[in-house]
């Protein structure tokens, strides 16, 4: 048996209320709601889960679910962690250690602000705390803006070029009733936007305006992964993990050698190799869009566009509804949801698209379901630091 397609994603679900819930949610609540939903969707009982994968939550989750998993993974290296979990689950299933893996995410990025609790002060001994924070670097936008400036310098691109990523991604959000920015009914600034809207929105970290940046919301999501015999016996449609790989280039941006390149080049190449497929075979791309820049640069790294020209996929309409390579069909971190670690959102959408369930009136309205049979998924974590890439194939 080959490692490629040794397991399939057999279901994907989200917490009941995501986005900006009326009542504050805890992260555990968001996890459990999604897990319960995916168990009901697939018919796989919680008790059959023997491998548990989450960004730091695995022991709490197993305890709460009342299971004693044989494989416990808490890899937490930012928003790409969940793509890595899929990689690790594939390996564990291939090795015969487990049959059914749960990958779960719950993060109350929005509610945490209202619930209060522990502050997020840095570890005084950490390199970033010592070398960046003293200079007023505060969070992801303050760093990613430096990468945008470097990209502009090297390739002659402009912030306006990247604004197209936000505009097109918003088009997808208008097709997703669950997207925070779906319409004026879901958010006062929801609905279609223009390049001018992106340019004229509030400056966060020059040259990144607000609409170049992702949302901060609540989100919970879970997927189940199973070996082929089980995957074939379920009422849901399997989506095969044809390729999976991960890589990293640095933790702190200080150590990022080339501000216009990420380790998605390496993880992408390895994932394609395992799948026996290449960029030209991809019919859908789900690329972490913490910022417009992140998605565009990732497209370059994955060979979907030449270096310096990733933004053209959006500007020329290829990534848009009806385009030749739909990208971020859920509305992205920019306009759908982004809880802080977005990787699970990518997995849920990838499953829906490749299992043909993207357009059920809840998760999508007319035009959201693509015809894609193949999908490349790439999570990016930290400060353009870590990447996990999956090549998924429809049954």
């Amino acid at each position: 048996m080959n490692l490629s397609k040794a397991a399939a994603i057999v279901g994907a679900a989200e917490a009941v209320e995501i986005g900006y819930p009326e009542e504050p949610r805890t992260s555990l609540q968001l996890h459990i709601e999604a897990i319960k939903a995916v168990s009901e969707q697939t018919g796989i009982p919680i008790s059959a889960i023997d491998g548990i994968f989450s960004a730091g939550w695995s022991s709490e989750l197993a305890e709460h679910l009342g299971i004693h998993p044989r494989y416990i993974d808490t890899t937490s290296v930012g928003g790409c962690s969940f793509e890595m979990h899929v990689h690790h689950a594939l390996l564990a299933i291939f090795a015969g250690v487990i049959d059914v893996a749960l990958v779960s995410h719950g993060q109350n990025g929005w509610s945490a602000r209202r619930l209060g609790g522990a502050s997020r002060g840095g570890d005084a001994s950490a390199p970033g705390t010592q070398m960046s924070m003293p200079y007023g670097f505060s969070g992801a936008p303050s760093n990613y803006s430096h990468a945008m400036v470097r990209h502009n310098h090297r390739f002659g691109t402009t912030p306006e070029d990247f604004a197209h990523v936000a505009v097109v991604t918003r088009q997808w959000a208008t097709l997703n009733p669950r997207a925070v920015m779906h319409s004026k009914e879901t958010h006062e600034f929801g609905g279609p936007i223009t390049v001018d809207d992106v340019n004229n929105s509030r400056m966060i970290s020059w040259p990144l305006t607000l609409l170049h940046c992702c949302l901060v919301t609540d989100h919970g999501g879970a997927v189940l992964i199973a070996r082929p015999e089980i995957a074939r016996s379920l009422r849901t449609t399997p989506v095969w993990i044809a390729g999976a790989a991960e890589n990293m280039s640095h933790a702190n941006m200080l150590e990022m050698e080339d501000f216009t390149a990420t380790s998605a080049f390496a993880s992408g190449r390895a994932a394609y190799k395992m799948a026996g497929l290449g960029p030209d075979d991809m019919e859908l791309a789900l690329l972490y869009d913490s910022f417009t820049l992140t998605a565009a640069m990732t497209a370059e790294m994955l060979g979907l566009a030449p270096r310096g020209e990733g933004y053209k996929l959006w500007k020329d309409g290829h990534a848009a509804p009806g385009g030749r390579l739909p990208i971020n069909t859920n509305g992205g971190g920019l306009s759908f949801n982004h809880s802080g670690m977005y990787g699970m959102h990518l997995l849920v959408e990838a499953y829906r698209q490749l299992s043909g369930t993207a357009e059920d009136g809840v998760n999508g309205i007319e035009g959201k379901q693509t015809n894609a049979m193949t999908c490349i998924v790439n999570g990016t974590g930290g400060s353009l630091s870590t990447t996990g890439t999956l090549v998924l194939v429809a049954d």
């Binding site: 070398m131 960046s132 003293p134 200079y135 007023g136 670097f137 505060s138 303050s142 803006s145 430096h146 990468a147 945008m148 400036v149 470097r150 310098h153 509030r202 400056m203 966060i204 970290s205 020059w206 040259p207 990144l208 941006m253 200080l254 150590e255 501000f259």
Partner: protein, 91 residues
């Protein structure tokens, strides 16, 4: 492998930069200010806040511009290195 202290020249060039419009702690009062990554002449890279630049005109700052270190006293014991542009055009 032996690790040792060396005295750096304090010179470098702007690798890339950005203008911060929101910040926390003491920096919140100083927005907008220009942060940058500096390629030191010795080969390492440092983060900094650029001194002597106009945050309202970011396009007037050049990648590759020469900078020189300046130490500012944060307390009697602690001095923090900042960088000032000494030669505007990238060469």
């Amino acid at each position: 492998m032996s690790i040792q202290w060396i005295e750096a020249s304090g010179e470098g060039r702007i690798h890339t930069y950005a203008v911060q419009f929101r910040a926390f702690g003491g920096w919140a009062e100083d927005t907008p200010f220009v942060t940058a990554y500096i390629d030191l002449a010795e080969g390492d890279r440092m983060a900094t806040v650029l001194r002597g630049v106009d945050a309202s005109r970011p396009e007037s700052i050049s990648i590759g511009a020469k900078v020189k270190v300046e130490f500012e006293a944060a307390s009697d014991d602690i001095h923090i290195p900042f960088f000032r542009v000494v030669e505007e055009s990238a060469s």
